[in-house]
Symmetry: C2
């Protein structure tokens, strides 16, 4: 998982637990794969294995959506694909804007998995005037000045921020002011948003640090628990003495 959700401190929207919502896309992916192999039905056991979860958990998750299974048989793959898609809101089209067309922004723009899930890249936006007009993934990059116009005329409600950390909050404010109510943030900053706006954060740096923690633990403390001492502390402190808190860039952009 990238990183945790912001806001919405466990708002169980209409009885469907957050934890369940987070797993639905996982089930959907597994079901789509089965659908392509023309598998008509799956048991909770099989599907759970494919999705990498516990079968009891899966059944309980589905029970929040309704009773879509047949006892003694399992679940109808196609029907379940539809039900989950509908529940997630993927049967409608979601125009999305990507702000900050650096290395990461470009990678996102090129991602083919958007369309198949109901997402459509409505526009690419960058603050660099030199980028304006340049085609990325077949779409001409537009300047930040046009942000509000683009959002409003396309009815965009989901925005992706892939700018440097310094620009993220400002971009966020403009997105929200223009009508965006869901934001996927790749910049290493805590975004402040008004109530009613959802923010999800993806941060590679954090993921790696969590892995490092477990890795260190697995290494079995070969080096003493206080290895390095103050010297290491100084090194750690100095290492960051170059630019912003985190290189000032999203966890995936060039320095």
């Amino acid at each position: 998982m990238a990183t945790g959700r912001t806001h919405r401190p466990a708002t169980r929207s209409r009885g469907i637990p957050e934890a369940t919502v987070a797993r639905l896309p996982l089930y959907l992916r597994a079901l789509t794969a089965l659908s392509e192999r023309s598998v008509p039905t799956v048991s909770s056991e099989e599907l759970a294995a494919a999705a990498g979860v516990n079968s009891a958990k899966l059944r309980k998750d589905f029970s929040y959506l309704g009773s879509y299974g047949t006892r003694g048989v399992g679940y109808d793959v196609e029907y379940l694909v539809y039900q989950i898609s509908r529940e997630l809101g993927l049967t409608q089209d979601w125009p999305v804007v990507i702000v900050g067309i650096g290395n990461l922004g470009a990678a996102l723009a090129n991602y083919g998995g958007f369309a198949s899930r109901g997402f459509r890249v409505a526009a690419l936006i960058d603050a660099d005037p030199a980028m304006a007009g340049k085609p990325v993934a077949g779409i001409a990059v537009q300047h930040t000045d046009e942000l509000e116009h683009i959002i409003e005329s396309n009815g965009v409600s989901i925005g992706v921020i892939a700018t440097p950390a310094g620009a993220a909050q400002q971009v966020c404010d403009r997105l929200v002011a223009a009508g965006v109510t869901s934001i996927l943030n790749f910049a290493p900053t805590v975004l402040t948003v008004p109530d009613g706006v959802d923010v999800r954060k993806v941060d590679l740096s954090i993921e790696l640090q969590i892995l490092a923690f477990h890795e260190q633990r697995k290494a079995g403390e070969e080096v003493g628990p206080d290895s390095g001492g103050p010297a290491a502390a100084a090194r750690a402190a100095v290492a960051d003495d170059r630019k912003g808190p985190d290189g000032d860039m999203p966890a995936v952009m060039p320095a």
Copy 2:
């Protein structure tokens, strides 16, 4: 957050809860920013605000690490930076390999936030022979054939998978066999790994779907609860009829 953790079903390593570990990098980032502004001490209240969490939660998190604060004053910024860095294992150097140098792999390779956190890109690996030798982010891409050699000679224990979904499990197996024990997976697949290996998954597609769910809910069911009906189901099913389950690419690569 990107997506959830795999394996390690809440293994509270040495008494530090997983949830706390996941927040430590957040605190570290906020503290680093304060350190650069030469702020000597912070209260739990201030730091919590900067990190976007509850102050009680922050204090409890820190209490797992020990008593590093001074009542009536707060926490010493430099000292806390060091303690958290040490706890996360960031005072040592972590060589990392990135496998799959597509759009995303290149973006990751260019990310400057690695070095400042103790991570070092030891090698870039790609299966395409045409890529071999090409410099990306100043590092020459190496062919997959050399994977085992690279891992072993550099003592790499953390691997990043940014390959298409179809290749991910195979790459994963090879990484693990060569000695990698922590994997950050960007490919849209459930990886199977032996016990003792940690996998974390980052998946943009899933993040967007979760946002879409909340967005739909916020939209207030303007369209009827059964909008679209079977037609939409058919559309959803057909839309995916192009390639792999998810375009067969990591949530951030070009199609």
